[in-house]
């Protein structure tokens, strides 16, 4: 019996050895398993995926923006960390009322199948997003109509002044697709559109890279587009974007040479990287803030504007900022520093003013519950320690706070429905423009979550309208500045931190720059010379 077992084992070993010696499968022996060697032409990027599709018209998540920006072009684009739209597939002119925007296409540009990019492709691509009400990106086209003038000219019209339109069309969701190819694969400009399956496995764009493979849970592989004739040709033969959810793993992969770029490191992690690595640490476009509800039925103790003032001046912002790591800054207002209208300085601690305001607010020592999501760090900033510090500082100023953390998915409903008296949340722009921060105004989306209707502050509501309806850049910047200042003076929000964005690479890569829309511009990356 024992002898037969031995023979079976020997046979198994022999079969395995034969199989291994064969080496006839899909991977050759000299495959570069270290992956990230720039000389091999392969760039490996680790990021925590928020990826749902390869269809630009249905995408509205950060990793999708990063990947699709490299595969598709938009009418206008953003360069580096600048939030001023620049020409991409087209140049733009607007009318005086800022209601008509004329785009003139660069007629030399071609799609990945070699066919030219025309006005018909622009009209189809934008109308497709406008018609797909079941797409997350659909809201971007609200109030915008598209008209073809000639083969190289398209006009986008809005009913009201819309100086944010140039920023909106930089969003990768509004990428220009090869209409003929997409229509041949189920594409349509209404809810019957069925091109997502095709676009999840193929490219129909004019960007420098092509989608080689897309696995929503593991990795996306891009390869160079041989037909590309734009200004930023592919610098790598292949870019692999991998889903690595743990930032600690991203750090080890980067240090160990398994990847070239780590996108989601926190401040502490990049500080310990040392020589041989490049780090881009900048403030992000997000803001972490306190919400103080003005509805007495929701927050009897918080409803007085004086209570918000007391909280605003009771806090030591430098000590709160200590929790955020490198790249982070104190929030100077509801508009983050990179956008027009942002304030130069934030609120400072003034305990006397806080005491006086608290006395006027009618607060009588009640315990106020501070609600926040505890499983959703923003830019590496964990909410729980920030909440604990806020609790300590407010206690010193005479305000009793009880912490009430909950998972994001649980906490989001009361926040959105305006039933939280005192909470800590975050806000990021829908597109790279100051108008993305007008929802904090009275009667606006986030304002209403704080029980703050338009009648509660007609002055600030008027500033919101002025900023929204401005028809020149100068007028607009001034209006946003006035809005931000007024919000900081008497709004029911206390902006705390603009978290840092820390992207790190090994020294084989150059061109690392944070951008608020696509986080990392893959088309700007190239091997270090």
């Amino acid at each position: 019996m024992a002898r037969s077992h031995s023979r079976a084992a020997a046979a198994l070993v022999a079969v395995s050895a034969l199989a291994l010696a064969g080496c006839s499968g899909g991977n050759s022996a000299n495959t570069d398993v270290d992956g990230g060697d720039g000389a091999s032409g392969t760039l490996v990027i680790d990021t925590a995926f928020s990826l749902e599709t390869g269809d630009p018209g249905r995408n509205y998540v950060p990793t999708g923006n990063m990947v699709l920006h490299a595969v598709y072009d938009t009418l206008l684009t953003l360069e580096g960390d600048d939030t001023t739209p620049q020409p991409a597939l087209a140049t733009m002119e607007q009318n005086e009322d800022a209601t008509e925007f004329t785009f003139t296409l660069d007629e030399d540009r071609v799609f990945s199948d070699g066919s030219p990019v025309t006005a018909d492709d622009v009209v189809f691509s934008l109308e497709r997003v406008a018609g797909m009400t079941d797409s997350k990106a659909n809201f971007l086209m609200t109030g915008i109509t598209v008209e073809k003038v000639d083969d190289a000219t398209v006009v986008l019209k809005t009913e009201k002044p819309s100086l944010q339109l140039p920023a909106i069309v930089t969003n990768p969701s509004l990428s220009i697709l090869n209409a003929e190819e997409v229509e041949a694969n189920g594409g349509a400009t209404d809810t019957t559109d069925a091109a997502q399956t095709f676009l999840d496995g193929a490219s129909a764009g004019s960007g420098p890279y092509l989608l080689d493979s897309l696995d929503l849970t593991t990795q996306v592989v891009l390869v160079g587009n041989p037909e590309y004739n734009g200004p930023t040709p592919a610098a790598y033969d292949k870019i692999v974007v991998r889903n690595v959810t743990e930032s600690a793993t991203q750090l080890i992969n980067l240090k160990g040479g398994d990847s070239n770029i780590a996108v989601d490191l926190n401040g502490d992690q990049v500080e310990g990287l040392g020589d041989g690595f490049t780090v881009d640490s900048v403030p992000s476009a997000e803001t972490i803030f306190l919400l103080i509800n003005q509805n007495p039925e929701v927050g009897p103790a918080t409803a007085s504007p004086k209570f918000a003032e007391a909280v605003r001046y009771a806090l030591d912002y430098d000590k709160i900022l200590e929790l955020a790591g490198v790249g982070a800054e104190q929030a100077t207002g509801v508009i983050p520093p990179m956008f027009a209208g942002a304030l130069a300085d934030g609120a400072g601690q003034d305990l006397d003013r806080a005491q006086a305001a608290l006395a006027e607010s009618g607060y009588a020592g009640e315990t106020v519950k501070l609600q926040f999501p505890n499983d959703n760090p923003v830019g590496g900033v964990e909410f729980t320690p920030v909440a604990e510090r806020v609790q300590d500082q407010l206690k010193a100023a005479g305000i009793n706070v009880e912490l009430a953390p909950a998972p994001f998915a649980t906490e989001i409903d009361p926040y959105v429905n305006g039933t939280e008296a005192f909470s800590m949340w975050y806000w990021g722009p829908d597109y790279a423009d100051s108008s993305s921060f007008l929802p904090f105004g009275p009667g606006e989306k986030v304002g209403l979550r704080a029980g703050w209707d338009a009648a509660a502050s007609a002055d600030i509501a008027a500033l919101v309208a002025a900023a929204r309806n401005a028809t020149s850049v100068e007028e607009r910047t001034e209006a946003f500045g006035a809005y931000a200042a007024a919000m900081q003076e008497s709004g029911p929000f206390v902006p705390l931190i603009v978290p840092g964005n820390n992207i790190a690479s090994d020294d084989t890569v150059s061109g690392l720059t944070y951008n608020p829309t696509w986080t990392l511009d893959l088309t700007a990356l190239s091997p270090t010379q």
């Binding site: 199989a19 291994l20 010696a21 064969g22 080496c23 006839s24 499968g25 899909g26 991977n27 050759s28 022996a29 495959t31 570069d32 398993v33 270290d34 992956g35 990230g36 392969t42 680790d46 749902e52 599709t53 509205y60 998540v61 009400t133 079941d134 997350k136 990106a137 659909n138 809201f139 609200t142 809810t191 929503l216 849970t217 593991t218 990795q219 592989v221 692999v240 991998r242 889903n243 690595v244 959810t245 743990e246 600690a248 793993t249 080890i252 992969n253 240090k255 160990g256 398994d258 499983d375 998972p407 994001f408 998915a409 649980t410 989001i412 409903d413 959105v416 806000w427 829908d430 989306k445």
Partner: protein, 354 residues
């Protein structure tokens, strides 16, 4: 799980008795499975929060047309009883619905995630069992001596170390410091996955005769298997030690030793066979524990398995995906229990008659 045994009644229990036993156990499993489906579904419904808002985010959820389209597409515009009946109807046709976070069929998502976790868990349980049998038996044979003390202390440490922390530590040491293993994920970025046959990369690469892919897969598997095994090895070692100690004192084991049989023959011929049934039970429990431990290990090693899928589904309030995961885990537990009970029944006639 049946663990008790009753005195043997030699009434000619044979093939028919075993068949009846199997049918009875399978029937019980189906009822339990229905219970799992009902409980999982109700739990996901009771969790506060709006799945559509969680899926759409701030911008899109302010668009009523998109919200309505999502609610209709994912059946969230229907009442809970309607949704449950619909779910059961679809389930009978093998359809677990569509994930609101990935937009794909939950069945397809699970078909990718389950083999990834299964491969780690399979090798981890094999490794755990092999190591634990050696350590547990050795400790029992050397009861009270230095070897026994060392094994007990080491197994206690293994039970106490947080898996997540151990995973980070091991990855840092074996990958970054020593370079013995490759990076995170199931394969290196430049390796092409094998044509799918079993879903286990190691086996599929072998079947494809791809040695480069095989060794790459093994190199990626090594650490997750090692980390996952530590807790299970500790758990099983302590249990096997206790079980072996009990058998060592049994008359038949003492008689075997008295006859002058060699140590290994006593161990494998008498002691381990005698302790096999309770060990089998414990292996089933350990396998379940191992599966639940994959969530954290998968996160550290960027392993695209069931744990990662479950975590993302729960975080995104993806109700059908969560229910699907609950169903798969329920089925795995039921199958483990069923297999163990069948093995019990096959090994010990007293069980199937009880």
């Amino acid at each position: 799980m049946t663990t008790s045994t009753t005195p043997a009644r030699r009434t000619g229990a044979g093939r028919h008795t075993l068949a009846r036993y199997l049918v009875r156990r399978a029937g019980t499993s189906v009822i339990l499975l229905l219970g799992v489906v009902l409980v999982t579904f109700l739990l996901t419904v009771l969790v506060p929060g709006d799945p559509v808002r969680a899926a759409l985010g701030e911008g899109a959820s302010s668009n009523p047309a998109t919200v309505a389209a999502y609610e209709e597409k994912y059946g969230l515009d229907k009442s809970v009883p309607e949704r449950f009946v619909l779910y059961l109807g679809n389930l009978l046709q093998g359809d677990l619905g569509t994930s609101i976070t990935t937009g794909r069929a939950v069945v397809d998502d699970l078909a990718k995630a389950v083999p990834a976790t299964g491969e780690v868990a399979f090798y981890a349980i094999i490794l755990s069992l092999a190591v634990a049998i050696v350590l547990g038996t050795l400790a029992a044979y050397r009861r009270g001596k230095a070897t026994d003390q060392v094994v007990r202390v080491v197994s206690l440490v293994g039970l106490s170390i947080p898996t997540f922390w151990m995973a980070i530590l091991a990855y840092n040491f074996f990958f970054l410091e020593l370079g013995w293993v490759r990076g995170s994920g199931r394969l290196s970025p430049t390796i092409t996955p094998p044509p799918r046959v079993t879903g286990f990369h190691t086996i599929d690469f072998l079947l494809n005769g791809d040695s480069v892919g095989f060794f790459d897969a093994v190199s990626h598997l090594a650490l997750p298997v090692f980390v996952l095994s530590l807790f299970t090895i500790a758990l099983l070692t302590r249990f096997i030690r206790t079980s072996v100690l009990e058998v060592l004192d049994a008359d038949y084991a003492r008689a075997a030793r008295a006859k002058g049989l060699s140590g290994p023959r006593v161990v494998f011929g008498y002691v381990l066979r005698g302790a096999a049934l309770p060990i089998l039970t414990m292996v089933g429990i350990a396998f379940g524990t191992l599966l639940s431990g994959t969530v954290l290990v998968e996160a550290v090693f960027a392993w695209p398995g069931l744990g990662t899928y479950a975590y993302n589904a729960a975080k995104g309030l993806d109700l059908l995906a969560v229910t699907g995961v609950g169903l798969v885990v329920g089925v795995i537990y039921l199958v483990i229990n069923l297999v163990i009970d069948i093995l019990y029944g096959a090994l010990d006639p007293r069980v199937r008659l009880s």
